[in-house]
Amino acid sequence: MSTLETLLQQLFNALSVGSLYAEAAIGLAMVFSILNLVNFAHGDILVLGVYTMIFGLAAGLAFWSAALLGILASALIGLFVERIAYRPLRGAPDVSLLLTSFAVTILIENGLILFVSASPRAFPLPPYLSGFVSLGNLRLPVIDLSVILGAFLLLLVLTVLVTRTSIGIAMRAAASDLTGALLCGIDINKVIAFAFGLGSAIAGVAGIGWAGRIGKIDPFMGLEPVLKGFVACIFGGFGSIPGAVLGAYILGGMEVLLTAFLPSEYSQYRNAFVFIILIIVLLVRPSGLLGKTDKEKL
């Protein structure tokens, strides 16, 4: 493989990883933008979607029907969690919400251990998703291609939803000024439910791609996507959806390229390097790449 081919291969990996991070980050960003809540249970909502999908497969559903069922389950669980865990705390200090999200995390993870199993389960990919496409010397896994294409389509749909539909614009409005949104007659509960439902559905998509890439699922698998999504959000500017997406692809790119091109004795420290870069970015732009600076606020 030439250096250029290696670079292309790694860029392709970065796109795939970045797509999953982006899907995990979007829901976090949407919820944070309205409620100032970093919903750490987001990763567990993702995991529950994957489990639902596996049960669907075990019950004999076709792969795509089961996938749809999993995504739907994530969305409904997101709505449910908002309704029973977060809504009663409306008006409480932000830190109470944060602690509640940890409680939800513990509840879901232990529920899975209790009622399913703590040991990993295989996530079976259909044969047409487990192969490779060869392009010259490049070997592109079909699952990664699907992840990238899926994320691209999802971002298109999301863009239409938040710029063309009334509830989507209302979500951005509520994120920019909650009092203004209330006085416009926007039913804030509907907007929050929309953010949770949509964000959780997108997390469900991320979960399927995630499990598809590593081939298994366990009750604690939600931690990594939520952490990566969190870092992506900080990179891009917390609360900004485009920022979360941009941050996710930059994060994925850095991780993959650092692993590929750092001398092997350093590559185990790639996360440390990623955080060094993150710290530098935040020193220059404290509110992230696309975050609001005070100047832009009214």
Partner: protein, 236 residues
């Protein structure tokens, strides 16, 4: 049309409104004046549902609306254009206006109100694709009023529309209020700029420390020596 009856509102332990009563009749422009911290903003926030009164009542067209959530109050026909405007800075002018009509949908009233807003403030039509955060202060105030009008209110409440604006712009904003009043809108106006407010108001209330201390017609209050001394003196 609107009747506030012995309203008591607290911020924590601060008694912000004390047995405050006032009324607004259909078609009137009523001004509430008073110094900073007198409770003017609290009054509007209690009517629009942002604050929940401890006791007393707010009657709108005969029914109690105290304690209703803000979106229900908007649906009933009361729009509150808040102090500080609370616009959606990253959204375009048109998106801001659309959000004003959130409770009304995009039917016939939407088109009619959009036309009204663009007639009243033509600059908003020119800038409809611009982000609200890029507008000048005066344009932002016009957008805030426009957004409140998009909810198709029977009663429009404005909080300090003159705040921080140049005199010419203030005059322009007040002109639009007179136009709206002539077009049949009922207006409840809260202002620190007492002279301007009383010059356009049918009636006025003076509040101090959460209580109504004086009321009368706009002309009476505007020529009352006490008022002139307390609220108009330094403002030339």
């Amino acid at each position: 049309m609107l009747s506030v009856e012995s309203l008591n509102v607290y911020y924590g332990r601060i008694h912000a409104l004390q047995n405050l009563s006032l009324s607004v009749s259909q078609g009137e422009l009523v001004a509430v004046i008073g110094s900073n911290g007198a409770g003017k903003t609290t009054l509007l926030r209690s009517i629009s549902g942002l604050l929940r009164p401890r006791s007393g009542d707010v009657l709108y067209q005969g029914r109690s609306i105290a304690g209703l959530p803000p979106h229900r109050v908007v649906e009933l026909g009361i729009s509150h254009c808040p102090e500080g405007r609370h616009l959606f800075a990253p959204l375009t002018v048109l998106e801001n206006l659309m959000m004003g009509a959130f409770s009304r949908g995009t039917g016939e009233a939407y088109t009619r109100n959009l036309e009204l807003v663009f007639t009243l403030f033509p600059v908003l039509k020119e800038r409809k694709k611009q982000r609200a955060g890029t507008l000048s202060g005066g344009e932002q105030q016009m957008l805030a009023i426009g957004r409140a009008l998009m909810a198709d209110p029977a009663l429009l409440m404005l909080d300090e529309p003159s705040l921080g604006l140049a005199p010419l712009v203030v005059a322009r904003i007040f002109e639009s209020l007179v136009t709206l009043r002539r077009a049949g809108k009922t207006i409840l106006l809260v202002e620190q700029n007492a002279r301007m407010a009383l010059s356009v108001a049918d009636r006025g209330y003076v509040i101090e420390r959460g209580q109504v201390v004086l009321s009368g017609s706009g002309r009476e209050l505007g020529t009352n020596p006490e008022i002139t001394k307390a609220y108009l003196g330094g403002e030339g």
